[in-house]
Symmetry: C2
Subunit: 351 residues, 2 copies
């Protein structure tokens, strides 16, 4: 076989959002695995846990008592990586040792009072409340004049460094625009200036025509395995409408976001019949930097580590750290597997 | 306290080799940990294991029988991510779906016939033989006209995705220059053009004067926790002489490299009294791209994940994947801890 074929031959793919490359080795999925196997997560958790510092009414690590909350709540992280009162300053020794002080605010968002639920197991109206809370949080953080970027994210599962299984996400808002956002701003701006439309609108059009990497869609959002996916079952949620940030979403769009979130994460859980670990987060425009950012197109990334089963993950190690990321199965294969799964959660499916 | 202080206040630091930033949160090391705890590695392994596919005389996954080797050996990876005979080609749909075919060669290097050893537990003359083999491998791979970059690396330990505990490293040689090397080439070239000396010579001079981030040194090499370290106990080995690649090292320099490798990895093992996991690899100039690359300064990176003990690691997840890397303890603290450790391996130390 001597014609180059994306489904069979090693190749690199370009991430148009960052300008970076990933190495794809489609022929390599048959590699035997004698390495690390993860312990499967606990199948069923109780709805309330006495020593969980996020359950309603409980005391947190710093002594604060949680409200007896019955919907999602947000509060400032007791162990914030960024603090509101950091004095400004920095260092620069001949351009060799360079540092900048960094102010910020870190928030925790409990998705539900129930300790035993995760997004795919929550009801649509309850996920919608999380979307509303994200909007409110963004609004109040963007009103802080020194805040330039607001990163909303979730680490789900022990193997993603999640320190408490109670369903929760985080928000880290910072004085500077983080690197990944700088890259995405540059790439989107270049495209927008050249073509007069957003990069992700053009990309989405192509994906909807080709269909091979689409996982699920509704009237307002599309879930797709990006052409340049690094993690085995990586996905993106892209809004059909070109908006810059989550505050612009209307009521029906917010319902649509709750819907696509539930459907994508349910497919994830169903893939290996396990509570599927991932880090996920939304990318949107920077604030308070004096620019209008019409190039920005809101989207959400899902980076899940599992590769072959509930216990075998992909390691981003040696070559990945020193050279560039590498993947074995193709994004097209991953999308096909996710697409063929039901949207009823395996725990509630009738036998 | 309202003067900015690098040892107390959150800040970002610039990686001068890549142009990227890391967020440092020195105040955060007191955070309680209720998350994932790793299983400690097996304390003692046998010198020979019947079903290890890397032990001398054994059969590998593809049926090949290993030689009855008594020093380090190299062979082509049975599950190479890159292949020598990939047809050339690619795809480009309106700059949105972009791919390039990628040829290459993947090699495995067994450091020792002994299944139970790792670099810190090997004798200096035996580590020196590994250095000689790296040189020979680089020489023959650089002679392949299409090979532009040769990545020599090691994944050590289960939690670094190492699929076999037999001490071994890898080499992935590719048709294109990987991203991390592109970044380091750009940064080093800019500095070299402006200052007429290598970026790492200038950096090393500064570190040797300040001393606070130095771990160990000999006549030819220095081990340092870089100012911009991302991983808790990240380190770099930098050659005092400005050379572009490992083939240029003289006999005494090769002895010096074996010496600093043994001393750094012994300190690592002694830190938490465990076989210290890491991904490590050397960075050197690209080949066969028609450029002279005098800007390049050979160095080696060590990326170890452990944070607080043999079982608690740092997770590079949510914020790190979506925004930029974050660390808790300062590089200066990490260097001080590594510096105060003995250079006799804890397993052989008298009680
Ligand atoms: O080649 P190995 O040892 O089978 O695999 C290991 O190293 C590779 C190169 O860093 C990684 O891509 C794999 O994820 C890791 O498990
Ligand atoms: O903030 P947490 O949940 O304690 O910590 C987790 O998320 C952070 C943000 O992604 C990471 O820096 C930590 O390594 C991870 O364990």
């Amino acid at each position: 076989e001597h014609t180059f074929d994306l489904t069979a031959h090693p190749h690199t793919r370009l991430n148009i959002l960052t300008g970076e490359w990933v190495l794809v080795s489609p022929h390599r999925s048959k590699r035997p695995w004698q390495g690390k196997v993860e312990a499967p997560g606990l199948a069923q958790r109780p709805a309330y846990v006495e020593d969980c510092y996020l359950c309603p009414g409980n005391h947190r690590a710093d002594g604060t008592q949680n409200a007896a909350y019955d919907g999602p709540i947000a509060f400032t992280n007791d162990f914030s990586a960024l603090l509101n009162d950091t004095p400004s300053g920095g260092a620069n020794e001949d351009g060799l040792l360079v540092a900048r002080s960094q102010k910020g605010i870190c928030r925790v968002i409990c998705f539900s009072p129930r300790h035993d639920l995760t997004l795919p197991e929550m009801e649509m109206p309850d996920i919608r409340k999380v979307v509303d809370l994200w909007q409110n949080e963004l609004k109040s953080l963007a009103a802080v004049p020194y805040i330039k970027y607001i990163q909303i994210f979730e680490n789900k599962g022990e193997i993603m460094g999640c320190s408490n299984p109670h369903p929760h996400g985080q928000i880290w808002a910072s004085e500077d625009v983080p690197m990944e956002i700088e890259k995405e701003t540059r790439q989107q701006r270049n495209y927008f200036q050249q073509h007069g439309r957003s990069l992700l609108s053009a990309y989405l059009e192509k994906e909807l025509k080709e269909e091979v990497r689409i996982i699920a869609q509704n009237e307002h959002f599309v879930a797709v395995v990006p052409f340049w996916a690094v993690w085995p079952y990586e996905a993106m949620i892209i809004s059909r409408r070109h908006v810059q940030h989550i505050m612009q979403f209307t009521d029906v769009e917010k319902d649509g976001l709750a819907d696509i979130l539930k459907r994508l994460t349910t497919r994830y859980d169903n893939l290996f019949q396990t509570s599927f670990p991932y880090s996920a987060g939304m990318h949107q425009m920077p604030f308070n930097d004096g620019e209008d950012h019409s190039e920005w197109h809101w989207h959400m990334h899902f980076y899940p580590p599992l590769l072959r089963s509930a216990t075998v993950k992909k390691f981003m190690v040696g070559y990945e750290m020193l050279a560039h990321p590498q993947r074995d199965i193709t994004p097209e294969y991953a999308a096909a597997r996710l697409r063929e799964l039901p949207e009823v959660h395996y725990k509630t499916a009738e036998v």
